[in-house]
């Protein structure tokens, strides 16, 4: 119960703090929307591993999987709104970022995270058609999730923006911890053959 309260606080407080940022008064609505899409995307990254790891005991496994898929789709949409909104705000800055020639490292991490999310989602969409062995599929999907989480956290921490420093760092730590805990618990990289022997 305390754990889930912490999850809810970690995922709502950063959004609320950002909503009161003084920087917002000097930004256009499209820019603000783009920024919040990014923050919401970061919050989704906290719930994705918790759903994948089956920690929501009150949810049947099938419902947790379905929710993981829906949130995955939602994550892709938040990334599209994030990048699209920034594009409208300042096309040359976004073109620089997408072509990996931006002067600021945070955008390189952001674009890396974007491609990793798209790849992880694509892998989920084409899961059946790819016909990969389940364990292989899972390892690739998890690898892409690790790149997504690592790059997104670096991206977020390097930005001086609307998010409050304390709540941003807390949320990033929570996302990293949830991701690592799930990977360890699900034993993604353990060979089952060796375990049985």
């Amino acid at each position: 119960m305390v754990f889930w309260a912490a999850v809810v606080i970690a995922s709502t407080v950063p959004v609320a703090v950002a909503a009161f940022s003084p920087l917002l008064q000097w930004r256009q609505p499209v820019y603000i929307a783009a920024g919040f899409a990014g923050i919401i995307g970061l919050v989704v990254l906290l719930y994705q591993p918790l759903l994948a790891g089956g920690y929501m005991r009150w949810l049947p496994a099938s419902r947790a999987r379905a929710l993981h898929r829906w949130l995955g789709a939602g994550l892709v949409i938040t990334v599209l709104i994030h990048v699209g909104g920034l594009w409208v705000t300042s096309p040359p800055d976004v073109v620089d970022a997408l072509l990996f020639r931006s002067p600021t490292p945070f955008s390189v991490w952001g674009v890396t995270a974007m491609w990793a999310v798209f790849a992880a989602a694509g892998l989920a969409v084409f899961r059946k058609r790819l016909r990969l062995p389940p364990r292989v599929w899972r390892r690739i999907h998890t690898s892409l999730a690790i790149i997504t989480v690592g790059s997104t956290i670096t991206h977020a921490l390097l930005i001086e923006g609307a998010m409050g420093t304390m709540s941003k760092v807390s949320l990033c730590v929570a996302v990293a911890a949830a991701t690592l805990k799930t990977i360890v618990d699900l034993k993604i990289w353990r060979s089952p053959a060796r375990n049985r022997a």
């Binding site: 000097w26 920034l86 040359p92 620089d96 002067p103 390097l158 001086e160």
Partner: protein, 167 residues
């Protein structure tokens, strides 16, 4: 009658001076002269420097209602001579508008010391970090776009320095 007194001290001093002169002469050949020949290197444009540039921003007393000071110098490549009367265009995301907005742009001229300063609205963080944009784009020298980043969003001033080479 004057005696030519060569004491041990004066001998050592003279020898030391000669050795120093020799070292300077040979050292100059290796170190000082090439440095002078190379002189002050031209400033390269920064990546992303020209983003949201609007050519021909008008020369203004200040951008908007001011409160933030953009300063800098313009010098000539090679000898580093200050260049008076050079037009520098400045723009940024500020409390009064986005980088793209026309009212966020203005230009100023360097004084007789090659220095410029322009009062502008407070720069606020945008696209990750608070930063300003400056351009030399008048044609006589090669165009240079700078994009200095502020160490902190609380700073009230930012400086950028141009060394221009002939176009």
């Amino acid at each position: 009658m004057t005696k030519a007194i060569i004491t041990r001290r004066s001998l050592i001093a003279a020898g030391g001076a000669a050795a120093l002169a020799g070292a300077l002469a040979s050292g100059a050949g290796r170190l000082i002269v090439p440095a002078q020949a190379k002189g002050v290197a031209p400033t390269p444009s920064m990546r992303g420097g020209s983003n949201n540039y609007r050519p021909g921003a008008p020369i203004v007393e200040r951008i908007g209602s001011g409160g933030f000071l953009m300063t800098g110098t313009v010098r000539r490549a090679g000898d580093g001579a200050p260049m008076p009367g050079q037009r520098i265009q400045i723009w940024a995301h500020t409390t009064e508008g986005h980088e793209r907005d026309p009212q966020s742009h203005g230009a100023t001229l360097t004084d007789e010391n090659g220095e410029f300063s322009l009062d502008m609205p407070q720069i606020v963080p945008a696209f990750g970090q608070p930063h300003g944009h400056l351009a030399y784009d008048s044609g006589d020298f090669k165009t240079v776009f700078l994009r200095p980043v502020m160490p902190s969003a609380r700073h009230k001033t930012l400086a950028a320095h141009f060394v221009l080479e002939p176009a």
